[in-house]
Each structure stands twice: as C-alpha cells, then as structure tokens.
C-alpha cells in the first residue's frame, strides 16, 4: 500500500492547474453541446469508385407485407451500383425526428434519412436545414425536377432545396364498407347527412368513427380533414394569410372545424371512451366491425386489406357542409434529405437521384400503399383508392395542401390535437383551443 502513497500534497500551483483543467473540460463540453451543424454543403463532392456502405434511416414500417418499402429499391439500386451498399436503419415512428436531431448533433447521423416537408412537426426538414445539417441540393437538377410546382412552398426555403419528395399520403377516412352496408348507409355527401348516419349507427349499437383521443396526431388528422372543406375550400390561401397575420385561427372558419367535432361528439359519432382511446385501438375496432371508420393516411388501407383477408375496406373523404365543398388533403410530404456531414456524399446523392426517378417513385409509392408524385401530377387515379377519383381528376381544385406542413412549429398541431381531446372530455371550448393554437403559431419557427 505504501507504494501508492504520494509523497507530496499538490502545491497551490498544482491545485490551480487542476481547477483550470476541470473548468476547461466543462467549458469544452458546453461549447461542444452548443455547436451548430457542420455545413459542408458547398464543398466539392467527390466521385466514389471503391466499395462503400451508406445508411438510410426511416421510421419503422408497420404496414406488414414484405416489410419496409425502401428495401425493394435498395436491392434495385445495388443491382445497378454493385459498389454501393445501402444499409437500412429503422427507428420508432414517434421518435424518428428526435433520433435524427440527436444523431446529427452528435455527428453520427445516417447518410440519408426520412424527413417531412415544411416545418410543422419535429420530423420536418426546414429547421435541420437552417441549422446547417442538410446537404444543399439546389444545384442538383434532378432534385429540383422532383419537386412539383404546386409543392414548391413546402420545399423551397430562400430559393434553396434541401429535401426531395418521396410520395404522397392522402389524409382520409379508412372505412369498413361491410359495416356501412350492414347499417344500410351510403357515402354521406354533407356533414348533416353524416350526423344522421352517426345516429343510425349508434342505434344499431355501433359508432361511425373511432378516434384515438390520447393521440394528438390522430385527432389532428380529423380536424385537418374537416378544415379542408370548411376552411380551405372557401379560402385556399388561408395559411398564407395567417403567415402575414391577416387572420387568426380564432377569427376564422377554424372555429367551425372545432364546433363540428363537438357536434359529432354530441351526436354519438365517436366510440365510447374515445377521449381515452389509444392509437393501437383504432385499426382493430375498424377491422372487427365495431366502428365504420377511422381517420388515417390512405396507405394504411393496404395494411388492413393485407391483414384482414375476409374484410372489405376502402378510403373516403370527409364531406363538407355542401357536397361541392368536399376536398382531399394530399401533399408530397414524405421526403428524404442528405446529411451534410456524411462521409459518402457522392454515393448518397447517387442513391437519392435513383429514388427521385419517376419509375422508382412509382415503385416506392406502390410498396408504401401511397400515391406517387407522378401519378398525382398526371391526375392518374391510384387503383387502390377508387373513391378518391373525383379529387385526383381535378387536383388543382379539389386537393389541398396538408395544413400543418405550412405552420411554423410543431406546437400548433400539438395544441390542435390535445385541444380536441379537451373538446371530447368537455374540458375545453373551441375558443380556448384556437387561442392556444394562435399563441403557438405566434411563437414562430
């Protein structure tokens, strides 16, 4: 033991040195935590010839079938580029955005990853681009070509491009047509008809809708669908006006949206216990025929059809006050972005260019159960969604942009989702919810 005993206590100078070293290490940690992204966007991108492996990160795919839709395209890309291996990494759906943010800051982010358009949720690309974490794609002609003119407001930030759209997921009502037939119900043309049908369903011991009150994302989908007809049919430029502070949520037809939800509740449209229901309860209740419909992205119907072979499922659009007001929300919101600090940017851009080709986008949309950008532009009705035909045949008039992509932060949509839970329990009024949404909106990006 004696050998371990030091002969001298540290001198005052030694103590000072230790103090300074400790302070320096703490400061270094603080500064490293504060550092922004490495903006190597403008550095020349080297052509890579040797074997490389790049990583693609997406939210976990829960649609069943043959697994993550990107796998097919990864195989096709590998066949054409044998020297480039694309490794797919999945993260839980609700944690993907935060996982990417953390990894980007830590410097271990994947080379290419899933983002959403605009800046309205924590998976949106805009705030990542502002912080310098995304590769500038403005000079890549194929990237600009992949962005439809109608979606430029979702992808261009100061005339720069940082993400490329992958496909569209129309926001719809996923319905069990067997239950509707059993109840003798036809597709409702107006909201009043829908209320009447809710009462019919309730009298037969079922409910028209299943909503996940505990999931703001789900209740928000319903509100946005109602807004498509109640707000955007009348004023397609409402979000531009809100951005210029020419209107507010509280002083607009958004109030009608929330009042309609209260009417639905009072008419018994929602399942019992809707306020406390979780997202996991939605699809089983539609599949088992306990309810007629649930609000979900249209692609979900493919998973339901695959999992319940003897069922009959379709997607439809929530009607408006008048039949002609009905609108479909469909935006090329699913997108991919490239890590500005990635080590194999040449190969990564080659892979993204491959994905941006129309034929590959069609293949991806088919595997995803979604709609490809090319189909949407050409007005081609996706064969899996026959009831969406009237909307895709007149896209400029009948399809509106998903509103929350245009909102400045994720707090607005979160306030909408949780506010609707308050409407279902009677804790909140439409005015209170709209006021909170305005407050969140005014916080800015």
């Amino acid at each position: 033991m004696k050998g371990h005993i030091m002969k001298k206590a540290p001198s005052p100078a030694g103590r000072r040195f230790l103090s300074v070293a400790a302070l320096a290490s703490v400061t270094a940690l603080a500064l490293s935590a504060c550092g922004g992204g490495d903006t190597n966007s403008n550095a020349p991108i080297a052509e890579e010839t040797g074997p490389v492996e790049i990583t693609l990160a997406t939210p976990a795919f829960t649609g069943g079938g043959s697994g993550n839709p990107y796998l097919t395209l990864i195989d096709a890309f590998k066949a054409k580029n044998p020297n480039i291996t694309v490794k797919l990494v999945e993260s839980p759906n609700d944690q993907h955005g935060q996982t990417m943010r953390t990894q980007l800051q830590a410097g271990n982010a994947p080379d290419i990853f899933y983002v959403t358009a605009g800046r309205g949720n924590n998976q949106s690309f805009a705030s990542l681009a502002e912080a310098g974490y995304l590769q500038d794609l403005t000079d890549q002609k194929w990237a600009a070509d992949a962005i439809p003119a109608s979606a430029k407001n979702l992808y261009y930030d100061d005339d720069k491009v940082f993400a490329v759209p992958a496909d569209l997921a129309p926001i719809t009502m996923l319905q069990n047509t067997g239950v509707l037939k059993q109840l003798g119900l036809q597709e409702p043309a107006t909201l009043d008809e829908l209320i009447t049908q809710c009462k019919t369903a309730r009298a037969a011991g079922k409910s028209y809708f299943a909503v996940a009150g505990t999931s703001g994302a789900n209740t928000g989908l319903q509100a946005m669908q109602l807004a498509a007809s109640l707000v955007y049919a009348k004023d397609p430029q409402w979000d531009a006006k809100r951005a210029k502070k020419e209107t507010t949520f509280a002083d607009s037809d958004w109030k009608k949206v929330l009042e309609q939800i209260v009417k639905f509740k009072d008419a018994g449209c929602y399942q019992d216990g809707a306020a406390g229901a979780g997202f996991d309860q939605l699809f089983p209740s539609v599949a088992q025929g306990k309810v007629a419909a649930a609000f979900a992205p249209a692609g979900a119907v493919a998973a339901l059809r695959a999992q319940v072979k003897d069922g009959s499922f379709d997607v439809a659009v929530l009607p408006g006050e008048k039949a002609e007001d009905s609108r479909l929300i469909a935006s090329p919101g699913n997108a991919l972005a490239v890590n500005a600090a990635g080590k194999h940017k040449g190969s990564t851009l080659k892979f993204l260019e491959f994905l941006a080709q129309p034929a590959n986008q069609d293949a991806l949309a088919k595997a995803n159960g979604n709609v490809s950008v090319t189909s949407a532009l050409s007005g081609t009705v996706p064969e899996q969604f026959p009831l969406l035909e009237p909307y895709f045949s007149e896209p400029e008039k009948k399809i509106v942009t998903q509103p929350n992509y245009l909102w400045p932060n994720s707090g607005v949509y979160d306030s909408l989702g949780t506010g609707i839970q308050g409407l279902l329990t009677g804790q909140a009024t439409p005015d209170q919810v709209l006021k909170t949404m305005d407050e969140q909106y005014d916080r800015g990006a």
Partner: protein, 319 residues
C-alpha cells in the same frame, strides 16, 4: 439498516484519522499530509467521472435555461425570460398542482400501505415469505411494461369495466384514463401498486431491529397495541421511515414513465406533471431553453421539499 451503515462509515472515518502512536513528532504532520493526499488521490477518478458524467451535463443544462435554444443551431441569451414564462402560469401551474397531488398522495399511500403490510407480514403470518415476494414482484418489473398492462386494464372494454359490468355496477363504468376526474387516482393506483413492495421491504428491515422482548415487556406493562406501536416500534423504525418517505417523495415528484405510458399527460393536461411538461416542451415543441429552465425549477422544488421533509421528520423524532 442505513443508519447502521452510516454509523459504521462514520466510525471508519474517525478511525482513519487517528494519529499513529509515534514519538517522532517532527514527522507527524508530514505523515498526516501523506494520508490525506492518499485519500484525495484514491477518489479522484470517481470524482472526475461524477463531475463529467453528472455535474457537467447538469451545469450545461442549467446554462441553457438562460437561452432560447431550440435543440438545434444557434441560440442567444435571454436572461430570466424562460423563468418569467414559467411564473406566468398557464399549463405550468396546472402541471405543478398535479405534481404536488401525485407526489403527496404517493408518499402517504405507499408509506401507510407499506407499513401496514410490513407489520402484517413481519412475524406471525404463515407463508409470509411467499406473500412478501408477491408484493415485492412489481418493483422489479419495468414501469413502462406495467403501465401498458394497467392501460389495458383501464380501457373502455378492459377488464376493470368488464368486471364492474359482471357484478352489476354498470353505473361505475367509465373511461378511467380519459376522464379528468378519475385519471389522477388511476395513475396514483398504478404507482402505489408498483412501489408499495419496496416500502414494505424497507419497513421490514426496520422492524427486524425491534426487539420482541421489548414489545413483550411493554405488553406486560399494560401498553395497548397502539401504545406499543407508537412508543416502542415507531421510534425504532424511524430511520426506515425517513428513508422511505424521502425516496417516495422524490419518486413521486419526478414521475414520468407511468404518466407518459398511461396518458401522455392527458386528457387535455389533466394528468400532466412537471416532468411530462419538460419532456413535451423540450422534445415535442423544441423549446430546449424553456425545458431546461423548468427542469431547474423542478429540481429546486424537489430539493426544498426533501430538505423540509427531513427537517420535519428529524424534529418529530426528537420530540
């Protein structure tokens, strides 16, 4: 038990500082310095790890409480702005009230039930070891896993409502986690169910130090059951009371897992606590600066309440 450990540790420290019985007075102070330095040298790696892993990140977090950082990119100092926003109230006030309701209910229920279980299962009951194990079992399970099981139990079509229907109590059926009037009691039940076993074990350890002869003597002197508990048992298990109440207060005030899994803070904030608000503001809203400020406030509240509780318990044990 902890008290004994503390005593032993104190004894060890005292022994370690004893000067050697040497007559060489000129070398006494040098040796004393050597010994002190050796002590310092030995704990340096642990101290460094503690500072770098625990205190430095906490200090950085505290630093961001004075910025408008959004979790990405640049930030600027905003002074006390985040704290002023907390003081403004709104959802933070509701979260604070919920935190206190849950924290206080949790401390009281876990300690009362834990003590009753410990007293009941201390000596006489047959198969007490099996029962103790069963009651302690939830402690070793993941709080997230058990919360999801309870979420299923509380569902509209879940076992609890089915049971009420089967015994003709349809009027009591409700959406337990979706009803603002029942959500907090439901969460508290889950938390107490999971933690009461731990408190029971702490009290069992305390009760093991109570001499049966002392209780018998009190009984022979005519002391009632309550008097025996109050004057013989309780003073002996006071160290367990202090530890159990302190730990449960801290756990109750900082609860996150169960609430996030059961309700996510809903319905409409009815079960949102400070920890859930911190998570939402930081990771959902991207307001890292505000979240850091709120985390600082929560830490301060926990420290103040814990110290106050320790002082109160010390006073009452002396009294």
């Amino acid at each position: 038990m902890t008290a004994q450990l503390e005593q032993k540790a104190e004894g060890a420290r005292v022994t370690g500082r004893q000067p050697r019985s040497s007559k060489q007075n000129s070398r006494k102070s040098e040796r004393s310095t050597e010994r002190r330095f050796a002590t310092w040298w030995w704990f340096t790696p642990a101290l460094l790890a503690l500072v770098l892993i625990h205190y430095a990140p906490s200090a950085i977090g505290a630093f961001f409480a004075f910025t408008n950082w959004k979790g990405l990119g640049k930030w600027k100092f905003v002074g006390w702005e985040n704290f002023a926003a907390i003081a403004d109230g709104g959802p933070t006030t509701a979260a604070l009230i919920n935190t206190f309701i849950i924290g206080i209910s949790f401390v009281v229920l876990t300690n009362v039930l834990g003590l009753l279980l410990a007293l009941g299962l201390n000596r006489t009951v047959k198969s007490r070891n099996v029962i103790r194990t069963l009651i302690f079992a939830p402690v070793v399970l993941s709080s997230l896993a058990t919360s999801y099981i309870w979420k299923f139990i509380f569902e509209q079509d879940g076992p609890l409502n089915e049971f009420l229907r089967s015994v003709g109590l349809e009027s009591l059926q409700r959406t337990w986690l979706g009803d603002p009037s029942t959500v907090l009691p439901a969460i508290i039940i889950v938390m107490v169910w999971q933690n009461v076993g731990l408190v029971m074990v702490m009290y069992l350890a305390g009760l093991a130090t109570v001499s049966p002869e002392l209780e018998e003597a009190a009984s022979l002197d005519g002391a009632s059951l309550w008097q025996r508990f109050n004057y013989v048992v309780l003073p002996a298990i006071m160290p367990s009371v202090v530890i159990a109440m302190t730990l449960m207060l801290i756990n109750g005030l900082r609860v996150f897992d169960q609430i996030q899994a059961l309700t996510g803070g809903g319905p409409y904030g009815a079960s949102e606590t400070l920890a859930v608000t911190i998570y939402k503001e930081t990771f959902v809203m991207g307001r890292f600066g505000f979240g850091a400020a709120l985390a600082l406030v929560m830490s301060l509240i926990i420290i103040i309440l814990t110290v106050a509780q320790r002082l109160l318990l010390r006073t009452s044990s002396k009294g």
